[in-house]
């Protein structure tokens, strides 16, 4: 199963792809919320890694859309702006984990492992 990474920053997308592919994950990349939604419509993803602050449509919009479309997919929200509110908001919109930017490869993988652990526990 594939992982989808959504971020308007190319370097973030590329970093994630490098780490995840290195670990053996299949990775799709989307540069915007709308692009991500298109991809999600086409195929199912094991996990969604998304930025909160993006031009045109932000992460909150994306999460709302996923909820509307009844796409039940684990979400890790990555944000360079980790205030209590943003975390709480993301949490409310259905994010499963909050990963503050910047992160090291280990932190990224730990977050993914945490999610799959929760998944399998369910």
């Amino acid at each position: 199963m594939k992982l989808l990474v959504v971020d308007d920053e190319g370097i973030v997308l590329e970093s994630c792809r490098r780490v995840l592919e290195f670990e053996g994950y299949e990775v799709s990349l989307a540069k915007s919320a709308d692009e991500a939604l298109e991809l999600i419509e086409k195929e199912d993803f094991l996990l969604l890694l998304m930025d909160l602050k993006m031009p045109v449509h932000d992460g909150i919009y994306l999460m709302r859309e996923l909820k509307n479309r009844k796409k039940d997919v684990p979400i890790i929200v990555m944000s360079g702006y980790s205030t209590n509110e943003t975390i709480a908001e993301a949490d409310m919109m259905g994010a499963n984990l909050f990963l503050p930017k910047p992160f090291t490869p280990d932190e990224l993988l730990a977050a993914i492992r945490e999610i799959s652990k929760r998944r399998s526990a369910r």
């Binding site: 970093s15 490098r18 360079g80 702006y81 910047p102």
Partner: protein, 654 residues
Amino acid sequence: MQHSTRYRLIFSFLAVSFVAGGVSLFIGGYLLYNAVLMEANNQVRLALNAADDVYETHVKFVKVALSITTLGAGFRSSLSEKRTEDLLDRLDRMAQHAQMDFAGIVAADGANICRIGPKVFQDEKGQHENIIARYVISHKHEIAGTVVLSKAFISRENMELADRTQFYPFKGANQLMPDDDQQLACMAIGAGIPIFENRVNGELIGVLYGGIVLNQSTNIVDQAQKSFFFDDVQQEKTTPMASILFDRIRIATNIVDEKGNRAIGTEVPDEVKEQVVIQGKQWTTTQLYLNDRYISAYEPIEDILGRRVGMLSIAVLESNYSNVQKKFFLFFMLATFLGAMIAIVMGYFISYQIMKPIHRLMKASQEVSTGNLSPDIGPISRDKEIAILQTTFKDMVESMKRRRMESRSQIIQSEKQASVGRLAAGVAHEINNPLTGVLTYTHMLLRRTDFPDDVRADLQVIAESTERVRKIVKGLLDFSRQTKLDPEPTEINRLVEASIKLIENQALLKGVTVQFHQGETLPLITLDRSQIQSVLLNILINALDASKPSDTITVHTTPALSASDTGNRGVEIIISDTGCGIAPDNLNKIFDPFFSTKEVGKGTGLGLSVSLGIVKEHGGAIRVQSEMGKGTTFFVWLPMNMNIGETKNETIGR
């Protein structure tokens, strides 16, 4: 209100001037009255002495006249030859010159030889009634002085004289009669000269006597009055008046009654007689006579036999002196009145002077109340109290101005902070994305094993440096983060306990003891628990970092009033350590953003500034005391009811 002050002031001035005037009027009046009275008494006594002189002069005059007559050529031979016509001629001339009322010569046996007067007749008996002659015959030397003469004697001497003389009853006028028999008598001054056979000695051949009846006489008293020092400007009534009294009856006087007649025959009170005639004293008294008060002085008159038979008296109208007093009173009343007028005028101006700065102050305070913080209070008064009032008012306005400036600068400060925060947030966000790249790529490279060691070491440096950047950015974010407070009533002790628990393990590892003394009866404090906890944690971790093994961190909680605000209730959390302390130079920098004494990479220097921001947002305050090498104490004061209205929280864009 201003008027009442002014009038009160004037009134007090008036009261003072009246009291001063009144008191001096009474005291001065009293003193002056006594002085005047004393002066009057002295003057009266002086006048009395003068009158006495006049009286004595008359006595001497009579005596001298008689003596000269006896020394006249042929007088003695005429007497021895009993040439009565010649003798009578001599006596007549003498009496005329000396204005004697009676005069005569008796033989050594007392028998009358001759006497002046129209009706001359020989005595049959009672020759002894001639007191003067009798005295001279028995004593054989001359005599002059006052004598009391019976009506019988005068009648015999000169019928005419007896007719025009007013006699008064007197005890012992006739030496031959029993004492208790009252006889009509008069008072006279008289003298008697013994005449001897030859000039040196020899047989007494006769006695020449003569005198002036004092009753109704005007000579002595008028002369006495004239001799007084009073000038003629004075009216008759104001000059002293002299009287000669026979016993207690005025027999010669220039006191006049209401008809303008001499007040002959009037009596003086018993008291005067008692003191003067009986006791023999000089006596001064005030008496009422014909609606006028007189100051009168009396002295006794002794007759040739040494009996006090009458008085010499001087009377002065008291009004002479009380007029002075009246004038004094009038003058003083005028002075007091003038003083009162001056008091009113002065009071008016002085109160104006006093009230002027107060008016200014009132106006200034009105201006302040309408918002003008630079009111004109005029020049500082020279009056101490008013100057204090003015300077206090000035200080008050200044401090109001300062406070307004402070609060303005506070607003500016918080605005600045907000914009800095916004900038920091933006920067942090932008940095975090590329930082993710750097971190990822560095770590990916580090996973590869095909690099030589030196390359790996370089990569390690990159990774660590990036880690530092990450921390700084995180601190920046924390600093800029101005989240909305989520206040709820909280038990401070619980919160502190929870915070201490979080660092207990670290403290244990380092060998630092953490003690907590829970304050009792602490009020519930409304606060954002997580934020205040982060403040406490920050301070606790700082304390822990500053501590060596075996050091102690002590936490107190206690109810406390605000140090700056007036009596605002709250709670103080006191966190003290026995660590290394803070250098005095650094003490006022520790709350500045990015200030840190920790090793590079260990602290962002934002912790305390963020903490201060949080506490301030709660309306509280942080103080710090520190001594190098002894430790540091943080005082975190939180109000019971936080006032959030002041600092508007700004949530910075997501």
